[in-house]
């Protein structure tokens, strides 16, 4: 495949990857709520619900072929629009340091990287980044070390759903409260930040204060994807009942030919199944405004039973550690995989440009139940600043404003592709193609910049306009069943402290049950341990912080 589309989708691709690695270990409740915390007194979380979010002012410089909407539908572009200038003056005066992470191969260092140097020239100063790589304990370990060392850079990417605990007290202790500069109309001074949606901003509010600009990713959550030609053998990746799906999965499982129906990501597959059963996204808001966790619903137990049935029928690929499932989807040896967001089918095009894939739209488990579709967290966190003076704060905000420039702007092009003729050229359709040096210099750095600052995402597959259309249509279908986690943007101290630990009790037991090492009836013990270990306390804290505009589940 040509380089254009690969580069064009890489941003969404790595976000998808980041999202997937998180969801694989901590889905459901912790997916949305994972991370941050209120103040020690517990009153901070409630305050978060009250802060005045930055005024939303859409970027109108370009028009998408397919329009997005406030419900989460992403704008779609069939080709690169001619770029519009969004920032007048270079944002920097001197050197700014930052900590971030890359999901691509590391780019050459600043001294040997003309793309980086040219970006610095446009920024009017020096953007000196410490870039962690996505290996080993990864970013949270690096983050914790730098935090403990007490020599903080000017800004640090904070991913609340990557297991950085106790975010509330940490922010208060070390970082700058930006509410005054961003709340309400104050944000209009930074138009690219004003173009970030209120749903995104919610995730940057902790203790009733805004700590940085959010970093939007896809608002869509997990979907099941499969190869069209594989599923064509059984009438397509669709079903009207769970029994029908079971039959199809069984038919596609042929161990003698080395073929299996499902990726062995048991937790993710179970997530798909509980959607068919109509389970809530993390928490259900009851009529009396109390919360019920997805784990406590009868749907979860029913899902366990069904997933165990699929396992017993041999439908899951037998190597739980397999890392090449995307390849197997392409070559047909595994039929279905769970990915983050429909736009992520682009990953299969990266492996094989002829790979035609489709996604499953949730259906009623028994043909009658109304299924649910779980939207994602919507951002990958925010980037707070070290405590500093007003002049520096303004400089840093101007920088983030530049780096959050929307798709279709001059700044977006500079950040993701560099300079025309040097870092990239244009193909006959007017889409950017990285030059040879661009391919070395750009991806690692662009990935690091995009994970700490980003505009709202769009659907853009320059080489495959049909994919863009398909994704746009599927997003509309998913939105019909869509639910957001009601705790999004609120924080529970207990969850940030013990959330991942008690979630592990649940996921361990869940996997034991699905793989036949434990019985469905054993789940009650795990659930009790979850409740006693902090689950009930988390519920209480979320209930206290629950915003009044969150709808009752099922209503």
């Amino acid at each position: 495949m040509n380089r254009t589309s690969q580069a064009g989708v890489s941003r969404r691709n790595f976000l998808g990857l980041a999202g997937l690695s998180v969801t694989a270990v901590a889905m459901g409740a912790s997916l949305a709520g994972c991370g941050s915390s209120g103040s020690g007194s517990g009153g901070g979380a409630a305050a978060s619900a009250d802060v005045k979010l930055p005024t939303y002012k859409e970027f109108t410089g370009i028009t998408a072929e397919f329009a997005g909407n406030a419900k989460g539908l992403q704008a779609g572009f069939l080709k690169m629009p001619s770029p519009v200038q969004t920032v007048k003056a270079p944002p920097l005066k001197g050197t700014v340091t930052g900590l971030t992470e890359t999901f691509e191969t590391m780019s050459p260092a600043m001294a040997d990287n003309p793309f980086w140097q040219r970006l610095n020239a446009k920024l009017g100063g020096t953007l000196d980044l410490q870039i962690a790589e996505d290996v080993g304990d990864g970013y949270p370990a690096k983050f914790a070390t730098i935090l403990a060392s007490d020599t903080l850079p000017d800004m640090m990417w904070v991913p609340p759903n990557q297991g950085i605990p106790n975010i509330g007290p940490m922010l208060e202790a070390k970082f700058q409260d930006l509410t005054k500069y961003l709340s309400g109309d104050a944000v209009l001074e930074y138009p690219n930040l004003a173009a970030l949606k209120p749903d995104s901003w919610k995730t940057a509010v902790v203790n009733g204060k805004i700590w940085g600009a959010p970093i939007p990713s896809t608002p869509f959550g997990q979907v099941m994807a499969g190869n069209k030609s594989t599923w064509a053998q059984v009438g397509g990746l669709t079903a009207s009942t769970a029994d029908e799906f079971f039959q199809k999965a069984k038919e596609l499982t042929r161990p003698n030919e080395g073929k299996y129906a499902l990726e062995p990501a048991y937790i993710n597959m179970l997530h798909m199944i509980t959607e068919w059963l109509g389970a809530p996204n993390g928490w259900a808001v009851n009529k009396d405004r109390t919360l019920t966790n997805r784990y406590e619903t009868p749907q979860y137990e029913a899902g366990l039973e069904y997933a165990a049935k699929l396992f017993a029928a041999g439908c899951f690929y037998p190597d739980a550690n397999a890392t090449d499932i995307s390849n197997r989807i392409v070559n047909g040896s595994v039929a279905a995989q769970v990915i983050v967001g429909p736009h992520n089918i682009a990953r299969y095009r990266n492996l094989d440009k002829n790979a035609q894939t489709e996604i499953l739209i949730p259906f009623g488990f028994d043909g009658k139940t109304k299924p649910t579709y779980d939207m994602g967290y919507g951002t990958v966190g925010f980037t707070p600043f070290k405590k500093t003076d007003e002049g520096k704060i303004r400089e840093l905000l101007a920088l983030i404003n530049y780096l959050s420039a929307p798709f279709g702007s001059v700044e977006y092009l500079q950040k993701n592709y560099g300079e025309l003729g040097k870092d990239f050229t244009l193909d006959p359709n007017g889409n950017p193609v990285m030059t040879e040096s661009g391919q070395t210099d750009i991806p690692g750095l662009a990935s690091a910049l995009n994970i700490m600052s980003s505009p709202e995402n769009v659907i853009f597959n320059p080489a495959f306009p049909d994919d863009t259309k398909y994704i746009y249509q599927q997003e509309q279908k998913l939105l019909e069943f869509a639910w957001r986690n009601p705790t999004n943007g609120t924080y529970s101290d207990t969850n940030s402290k013990v959330g991942s630990k008690i979630t592990k009790i649940i996921t361990d037991k869940t996997i034991d049950i699905i793989t036949g090492r434990a019985k469905v009836s054993d789940f009650k013990d795990a659930l009790k341990r979850w409740k006693d270990g902090g689950g009930d306390k988390i519920r209480e804290e979320y209930q206290k912080a629950l915003p009044s505009d969150v709808p009752v589940f099922g209503a």
């Binding site: 007490d150 106790n166 007290p169 940490m170 991942s500 361990d508 090492r517």
Partner: protein, 343 residues
């Protein structure tokens, strides 16, 4: 005049003892002689040993920096440690982390698994390198010997990720063996996913990976057995087996005991990556060991203090076991890892 040091440099093989010191430096020497039977003064000993002492400095600094100073970090086991507050500002909680640990059923599962795996390793793994060493030692052709050694060493240099992947390719549900079984119309056997047989699988993996490497120490001490003993025994009509029983094995006894003690002290460290990688395949009920428990509680779960508490508990048990095993070795008349002061 040639100083003592330079003279010693010229004759490095000269043993370090006062008697051999040339009479050029009378002061220290006389003092030393005065304190005849007692200890020599610090200054004399410094003069005598300074080269040795200086050579030890890098090693000591290394140990200090990377082993002894980090030991101080164990205080977080008694704190509610938060990385952003640091050790100085985190709250003290006393023994609360150990109490939590005691009431955490997962900790006991991890401890049980660790002990079970350790026992399997002790019984099945420990004798293998010795056997391999004896085989290699008995090979006459140097060429075959080298080949054999290289082949059994090699897996040691593969990471656990590769080893598990190889086992998966051969024994996994979609692996070579099970595919053959299916072709023959027999059912697949869940070698890699059966929690009941996991200790056996884990030990086999360990043997495959590390037995060749562990053999090196035995080979080295085999080489140090006096060859004339064998000749004498052969002259007296001792056959191959008698020679092994009466010469080889007694010759290796000290090293066997030493390695056994070290292994026992280390018995709670059965491995980490191997079990982390197979965590989901067989479930934590069979594969959670103390090290993975520490990892999940501390690094993944953010409970650094509880993780440190588990690590500390493990270290204390390990130390007790080492002392106990060493004591037993002394009773058996072996030097062990350290001896009591003689005389």
């Amino acid at each position: 005049m040639i100083s003592t040091t330079s003279e010693e440099r010229q004759a490095p093989s000269r043993p370090y003892c006062v008697a051999s010191r040339p009479p050029g430096k009378p002061l220290g020497a006389r003092k030393a002689r005065k304190s005849a039977a007692g200890r020599q003064s610090l200054r004399v000993r410094w003069k005598r040993d300074r080269q040795m002492l200086l050579m030890m400095v890098p090693g000591l600094v290394f140990l200090l920096l990377f082993f002894y100073i980090p030991i101080l970090g164990n205080v977080i086991a008694f704190q509610d440690y938060q990385p952003f507050l640091g050790i100085l500002n985190s709250d003290w909680v006393g023994l609360q982390n150990f109490v939590d640990l005691y009431f955490d059923p997962d900790f006991w599962v991890a401890l049980r698994n660790t002990l079970v795996l350790a026992l399997w390793q002790l019984v099945l793994f420990f004798p293998v390198p010795l056997g391999l060493a004896l085989i290699v030692d008995s090979l006459m052709s140097t060429k075959i010997r080298r080949w054999f050694q290289s082949i059994v060493y090699l897996p040691h240099f593969l990471s656990w990720v590769l080893v598990i992947a190889l086992f998966q390719q051969v024994l996994g549900g979609a692996g070579l063996v099970n595919n053959e079984l299916r072709q023959l119309g027999l059912g697949a056997i869940p070698f890699m996913t059966n929690p009941d047989t996991f200790p056996l699988l884990a030990t086999v993996q360990l043997v495959w990976k590390d037995a060749g490497w562990a053999m090196i120490i035995f080979l080295a001490s085999l080489a140090s057995i006096d060859g004339s003993l064998y000749e004498a025994a052969a002259t007296d009509g001792a056959g191959r087996w008698r020679r092994m029983w009466h010469i080889t094995l007694p010759g290796l006894r000290s090293i066997i005991v030493l390695l056994l003690i070290l292994r026992i002290g280390d018995i709670l460290s059965v491995g980490f990556e191997q079990f982390l990688l197979q965590h989901d395949a067989v479930g934590p009920g069979a594969s959670e060991v103390l090290d993975t428990f520490t990892y999940f509680a501390g690094v993944v779960g953010g409970g650094w203090s509880m993780g440190a508490a588990a690590g500390l508990a493990k270290g204390v048990v390990g130390a007790i076991l080492i002392f106990a095993a060493n004591k037993v070795a002394h009773r058996m008349g072996e030097p062990g890892i350290f001896s009591k002061k003689v005389g």
